[in-house]
């Protein structure tokens, strides 16, 4: 009954978006505003219908309605309620439904907020969004139908994949990812809209699109960090990034979107890089669809490979359409987008942004080439090769280090032209930070040149970014006699975009530092212990207290309680475990992490004796790992700060209340260099 209702809702939604796309197109071409309004209406209608279907699915999952195929696939009476609800996105069909829902939500927001805007930008953008929604509607009614009727109705189901039941971050990572990923459809739609309506020759459309891009970028950043954190805590090898195709699929759009966030500023100031920015904007979405295709089609082997099936072919058709349409539109419009600007000087922030774009784009291509090479090598030469971590780490490290350095140079250099004196004053002092960090790195034992360089450049960029805050705050403090806290708040409010950006930079630096330290200073040891025996790694001692077992409704759990001992006292305990699910032939390990500001003690249970007489435990000591997660939070904070619209430029409130004196003290200009 629920399944039938939901399936019907999805079928109606398919018809609705098709009608909407057609009527919207005809309405724009034929200048029928009422038809365009109908198209807008179908956006809302689609969202309502997909919401109904999604709620129906959640209801079916929670009530264990095994007559519905998706529930029969991932549901189980033994699974705790929390994991039952989040199994909505645990397997292919449910995740497609979720995709469609997020797309509907974004489309509704875009259309509703911009419904009164004159011109064809928004109508064309809506048509584009409807076409994308159409694709997903086809999937949901066809190969990815989660509401198939199952007969005879099973009494119970296998439950979600055990790896998806082990950790609370499973609730967080996929929604964040979809909010980020799917959100990239909005800038794409606006880009299409701009080209189709002719508005692409002006820059106004970028202003409208920017908040959506920034919101999606923020979600995507959070999603990537959450994904890293989740795999770190769940998978048991103590790492957080393996350059797996699915990780790369989420990372490549992020790189391109980051490039756009920077070069868009050059376009705003100089009217340049128009064609390039257009490419970046549509490129982000194309990479999103490419990523979805690669992970769902099964043509690359990946940790995340969902079941193969006909869905891959549908995605191939979709990506072909997206690719061709994008290439045609952008190439066709390239004439109109010639830049007429010029730069005052090569020593300027503009140049730094160009280099930033270069490195980010090169980074993206490196990841893309590495991800696709096994496929290419097999197709062209019949070779079966692996492109693994060593390649990606080796090739991207120089780019990463350069980007960190640029993060310090960009904020320091002014727009336009920097005189030699400017450059000296702005570019030299941060080297103090570089020296300090390099010394710290060397003193603590780092010998890898890249590690030391990374530390040094992190110091450089941190100094430069904090300094920008310092300069702004002390100027306000001096000019307006504001307290430091007020100065900070007002400074940020005066130019949210810039200072939010610096916050995001600082977040990235925390991430970089966490990664550099945990890679360089990681030590591990594995040992078979009897209760009472200890294992010491990098000065940390952990003692096995006991090996235990317990039965839970959905699995059997064996664990080893480890006590961390310092100066004879137990300061912490950890229970790494192995989970035995009836549907799996091998157990799923759950590592345990004891985190502190300084780093993590990572325990993994490798083997155990049946009688509890001994257990083999691996202890990995990784410094500064929590800084990665913390840094991710700071990046998101930066995005949040940046996404709110710039306050109208006006003088500080205090000056408004006081009559303007005849002689006005020089105040540093807000919101500008």
């Amino acid at each position: 009954m629920t399944g039938l209702l939901a399936h019907d809702a999805l079928m109606v939604s398919l018809v609705l978006v098709l009608v909407g796309a057609i009527m919207g197109t005809l309405g724009i071409r034929g200048r029928r505003a009422d038809w365009v309004q109908i198209a807008f209406g179908t956006v809302y209608g689609n969202f309502v219908l997909v919401t109904v279907a999604t709620l129906a699915m959640i209801y079916a999952l929670v009530t264990h309605d095994f007559s519905i195929s998706y529930v029969a696939q991932v549901g189980s009476r033994e699974t705790p309620l929390f994991y039952t609800v989040i199994s909505l996105w645990g397997a292919l069909e449910g995740s497609i439904l979720f995709w469609a829902w997020v797309l509907g939500a974004y489309s509704t927001a875009v259309v509703f907020i911009n419904r009164k805007r004159a011109g064809n930008l928004v109508p064309w953008a809506s048509v584009t969004l409807l076409v994308v929604a159409l694709f997903f509607a086809i999937l949901l009614v066809g190969p990815a139908n989660p509401f198939h009727a199952v007969f005879p109705v099973p009494g119970d189901g296998p439950g979600p994949n055990p790896l998806l039941q082990n950790h609370i971050l499973m609730a967080v990572h996929p929604p964040l990812l979809y909010l980020g990923y799917v959100g990239m459809a909005v800038p794409f739609a606006f880009a299409m809209g701009a080209m189709l309506s002719g508005e692409v020759v002006s820059d106004d459309w970028i202003k409208i699109t920017r908040p959506y891009l920034l919101v999606s970028w923020g979600f995507l950043s959070a999603a990537i960090i959450a994904g890293m954190w989740w795999s770190y805590e769940v998978l048991g090898w103590g790492g957080y990034w393996a350059w797996d195709p699915v990780e790369n699929a989420s990372f490549m759009p992020w790189l391109v979107a980051t490039a756009f966030l920077h070069s868009a500023m050059v376009q705003e100031r100089r009217g340049m890089l128009r064609l390039w920015n257009l490419n970046l904007m549509v490129g982000t979405f194309v990479l999103t669809i490419l990523g979805t295709f690669l992970t769902r089609s099964g043509i690359l082997s990946s940790v995340h490979s969902f079941t193969q099936g006909p869905i891959g072919y549908y995605f191939l058709v979709f990506i072909a359409v997206v690719l061709v349409v994008t290439l045609v539109m952008v190439a066709g419009n390239s004439d109109r987008l010639r830049s007429t600007g010029h730069l005052e000087s090569a020593a300027s922030r503009e140049t730094v942004f160009l280099l930033n774009n270069l490195f980010l784009t090169a980074f993206m291509f490196t990841v893309l080439i590495g991800t696709l090479f096994p496929l290419v090598a097999e197709a062209l030469r019949g070779l079966k090769v692996t492109v693994g971590e060593p390649f990606f780490n080796k090739m991207t490290l120089p780019l990463i280090v350069s980007l960190i350095f640029l993060m310090g140079v960009g904020p320091a250099l002014p727009w336009g032209a920097a005189s030699k004196a400017d450059m000296k004053a702005k570019l030299l002092p941060p080297f103090a930070g570089a020296v300090v960090m390099a010394v710290i790195a060397l003193v603590t034992g780092a010998r890898n040149p890249y590690a030391v360089l990374t530390f040094a450049f992190v110091g450089y960029a941190a100094f430069a970014n904090f300094r920008e805050y310092w300069i702004g705050m002390s100027a306000r403090h001096a000019a307006h006699d504001e307290g430091w806290a007020t100065a900070l708040v007002r400074l940020v409010q005066g130019n949210r975009r810039r200072y939010g950006g610096y916050v995001a930079h600082i977040g990235i630096l925390f991430v970089a530092l966490g990664i550099a330290a945990s890679q360089s200073f990681r030590t591990e040891r594995e040992a078979t212990l009897k209760p009472g025996e200890s294992l010491t790694v990098a000065g940390h001692t952990a003692r096995l207290k006991e090996v235990w077992g317990r039965q839970e409704p959905q699995r059997a759990v064996i664990g080893a309680t480890m006590e961390v001992v310092e100066n004879g006292k137990v300061v912490a305990t950890a229970d790494p475990r192995m989970n035995f699910y009836p549907t799996q032939s091998t157990p799923v390990p759950t590592p345990q992490v004891i985190s502190s500001i300084g780093g993590d003690l990572y325990f993994n249970l490798m083997a155990f004796d049946q009688n509890g007489a001994h257990a083999t435990v691996k202890l990995i000591v990784q410094p500064l790992v929590p800084w990665i997660w913390f840094g991710g939070g700071i990046v998101v904070l930066g995005a949040i700060i940046g996404v709110f619209p710039k306050r109208r430029r006006r003088t500080a409130p205090a000056a408004v209340r006081v009559p303007v004196p005849a002689v006005v003290l020089p105040i540093p200009r807000e919101g500008e260099a």
Binding site: G298, I299, L316, L323, L327, M329, A331, G332, E378, A379
Partner: protein, 211 residues
């Protein structure tokens, strides 16, 4: 709208889509083995499951692959925790029984498992016609480039690996491979001292040029 440029640009999509379409015809998880055509790596492993007469071997006896040269050898890697191994077990065992009097040896190799659960598994599955040896440290498995169970290797009379089957074997595969390898055996060759004491068998009628 520069249509000429647009048309040229759209061509860039062709190689990309072609690559992806081609990708569907391949399975990224199927790794071709370099072993076929090469000499089968030798091993000496101890029997832990004797099998049934006439193929039975005493538990604890060591099987040396080199000593089986001259006859066809079917090597099947399995484990009691392997779900797909169940699918092929009856097929393999029945086939082995049918070919008991032919110049072909069947040998099971236990991978990453312990004898006790393996023997219970054999009992549960209704017995195993041929003996199984225990690859204790998986060195033999690695020697054969094993990356999962079940895997079955067909070794010809000269000790070369003729074919590797990844995943469960079927009767059709067994018949095809074993028959063609037996047919290729040099006529009238006696097995060079195999571990079992079965009487020398006549080459089957299919062998070419029986003296």
């Amino acid at each position: 709208m520069n249509w000429k440029r647009a048309a040229i640009a759209s061509l860039a999509a062709v190689p990309v889509i072609a690559l992806f379409a081609w990708g569907f015809t391949k399975d990224p998880n199927n790794i071709p083995s370099p072993l076929p055509g090469r000499m089968a790596p030798d091993f000496s492993l101890a029997v832990f499951a004797p099998g049934q007469p006439p193929m039975a071997l005493p538990v604890g006896d060591t099987v040396h692959l080199a000593k089986l040269r001259g006859e066809v050898v079917v090597l099947n890697f399995w484990a009691s925790w392997c779900l797909s191994c169940r699918d092929e077990h009856r097929t393999l065992s029945a086939f082995a029984k049918r070919y008991a009097d032919r110049p072909v040896h069947f040998l099971g190799v236990l991978y990453n498992d312990r004898p006790a659960p393996a023997i219970s598994w054999i009992d549960e599955m209704g017995g195993q016609e041929y003996p199984s040896v225990n690859d204790v440290d998986a060195h033999t498995a690695i020697d054969y480039g094993l990356y999962g169970v079940p895997e079955t290797y067909f070794i010809d009379g000269n000790g070369r690996v003729a074919f590797k089957q990844t995943g469960p074997v079927t009767d059709a595969i067994l018949t095809h491979e074993v028959d063609s390898l037996i047919a290729a055996l040099p006529a009238g060759t006696r097995p060079g001292g195999s571990a079992d004491t079965a009487a020398p068998t006549l080459a089957p009628a299919k062998t070419k040029g029986t003296p």
